[in-house]
């Protein structure tokens, strides 16, 4: 337990510190979302219609921005070797590092998302659904991302390859998440969408931990 907290604290601390990924992800998210009113035009009806998709795609890209550093920095400086032979089994290690990634990149986005939704003229009735979809859906982004990050660790130009691996796998998350927000905008029940989203996240957690651990084991060999 002490090992878990130590690793979580270190990873989150490094992300928040200067040069870490948290501020980068937040700034990227804010900038991308605010670009849309300029591009689409300030009409409230149009903006509100695209708002769920825009917020979600921006959140997805912002969370992907720091994925390539997830295992890479530890791999480069030799920490990954020591983490792998430490007291935690590899899948648990992946779980802790992925939770740290979520805490340091997705959690801050949750705070910023409602503020940015205002600039997109999202209806007030859709805010609870937007937040719920982000809470339930963003862990899936981190866990699916962990598979890609582990696969591309140690490769050159890993960032581009990583996005090619990960983006198609993000599609189900995007569909159910924006579906939930759209349902709320139009006065329908959001529960079915959120339940499917929750299912996607649960599968991502289980598959992500084991698949990323297997990929890391290959890189350590």
């Amino acid at each position: 337990m002490r090992s878990i907290l130590a690793l979580l604290g270190r990873d989150v601390g490094l992300s928040w510190a200067a040069g870490g990924s948290t501020r980068l992800a937040l700034a990227f998210f804010a900038l991308t979302v605010t670009l849309f009113p300029f591009g689409v035009g300030p009409g409230a009806a149009t903006l509100a219609k695209v708002a769920p998709g825009v917020v979600w795609v921006a959140a997805l890209l912002a969370s992907m921005l720091s994925l390539d550093r997830m295992f890479e920095t530890d791999f480069e400086d030799g920490s990954l070797d020591l983490l792998a032979i430490g007291p935690l089994p590899l899948p648990l290690l992946v779980l802790v590092k992925t939770v740290a990634h979520w805490v340091s990149t997705a959690l801050p986005l949750l705070v910023l998302a409602p503020v940015l939704a205002i600039t997109l003229q999202l209806e007030s009735t859709a805010y609870p659904a937007l937040l719920a979809s982000l809470v339930i859906g963003t862990p899936a982004l981190s866990f699916i991302g962990a598979i890609g990050a582990a696969l591309t660790t140690g490769l050159r130009r890993a960032g581009v390859l990583l996005s090619l691996i990960v983006l198609p796998l993000y599609v189900p998350v995007l569909i159910f998440a924006t579906g939930a927000v759209d349902a709320a905008r139009n006065g329908f029940d959001t529960a079915p969408h959120l339940m499917f989203l929750g299912a996607v996240t649960l599968v991502a957690v289980v598959v992500g931990c084991w698949a990323a651990a297997a990929a890391l084991r290959l890189h350590l060999e």
Binding site: R2, S3, G78, D81, I85, P87
Partner: protein, 221 residues
């Protein structure tokens, strides 16, 4: 101590006709050694002769292509965890985070390994007491190496696996390291060290080139 152990060491560490394959190429085969408590074994050989690979095998980071490694008579393939809980691996990378202070780097590893405290002991052992608050990235290469080696003193472990421990160290630090290694051996510890330099300690020598796989031509001759 030597390539052909005749005495079965109960608490020791030994290899039996060990073979190692990296990237499809056989690096060495038929390698035997045995290390009893209080003994040092120095690995020598040209670059690429498999010194680091042997250390990574011993640390459980690689699996042998043939043969076995035994700790206290038990095959590592059967019981890896108790072996890992009782060893320190210092690879040729120092596993330091440049933005964290020297003390914070050690503190993380101490907590991750499950023993809080002893950070000062580690810093003092390698003569880094005055540099505790400096970011690790601002230390010189030799100081970073000393900080990497300071992990050895964070928690007691019987087996030390050292990959080129003296690289970048000045004379005073070499003496300090040699003293620490001598004390460790006197307390019944075991050290497996790959180096090109004289450590100033008495111990066995394992020339890895003797275990290089013979080519088809050599076989035919």
């Amino acid at each position: 101590m030597g390539p052909n152990p005749t005495v079965q060491t109960q608490d020791g560490f030994e290899a039996r006709s060990l073979a190692c394959r990296r990237a499809g190429r056989l690096v060495f085969e038929g390698l035997d050694f045995s290390l009893a408590p209080g003994q040092l074994l120095v690995l020598t050989g040209a670059n690429g002769s498999g010194k680091s690979s042997l250390l990574r095998l011993a640390a459980g980071l690689l699996s042998p292509a043939g043969g076995a490694l035994l700790r206290a008579g038990v095959d590592l393939a059967k019981d890896r965890d108790s072996h890992l809980a009782d060893l320190h691996f210092v690879g040729h990378k120092n596993a330091l985070k440049p933005t964290l202070s020297a003390a914070a780097n050690l503190e993380f590893w101490a907590r991750f390994l499950g023993d809080a405290g002893n950070v000062e002991q580690g810093l003092d052992a390698m003569g880094l007491g005055g540099l505790a608050d400096l970011p690790a990235g601002e230390l010189s290469a030799g100081q970073q190496r000393r900080l990497g080696l300071a992990r050895l003193f964070l928690r007691p472990a019987t087996l030390w696996l050292l990959d080129e421990p003296t690289v970048g160290l000045d004379q005073a630090s070499r003496t300090r390291l040699a003293d620490a290694m001598r004390r460790h051996l006197e307390c019944g510890g075991m050290i497996l060290a790959a180096t090109h330099e004289d450590l100033g300690l008495s111990g066995g020598v394992l020339e890895l080139e003797r275990f290089a796989p013979r080519t088809a031509l050599e076989e035919w001759l």
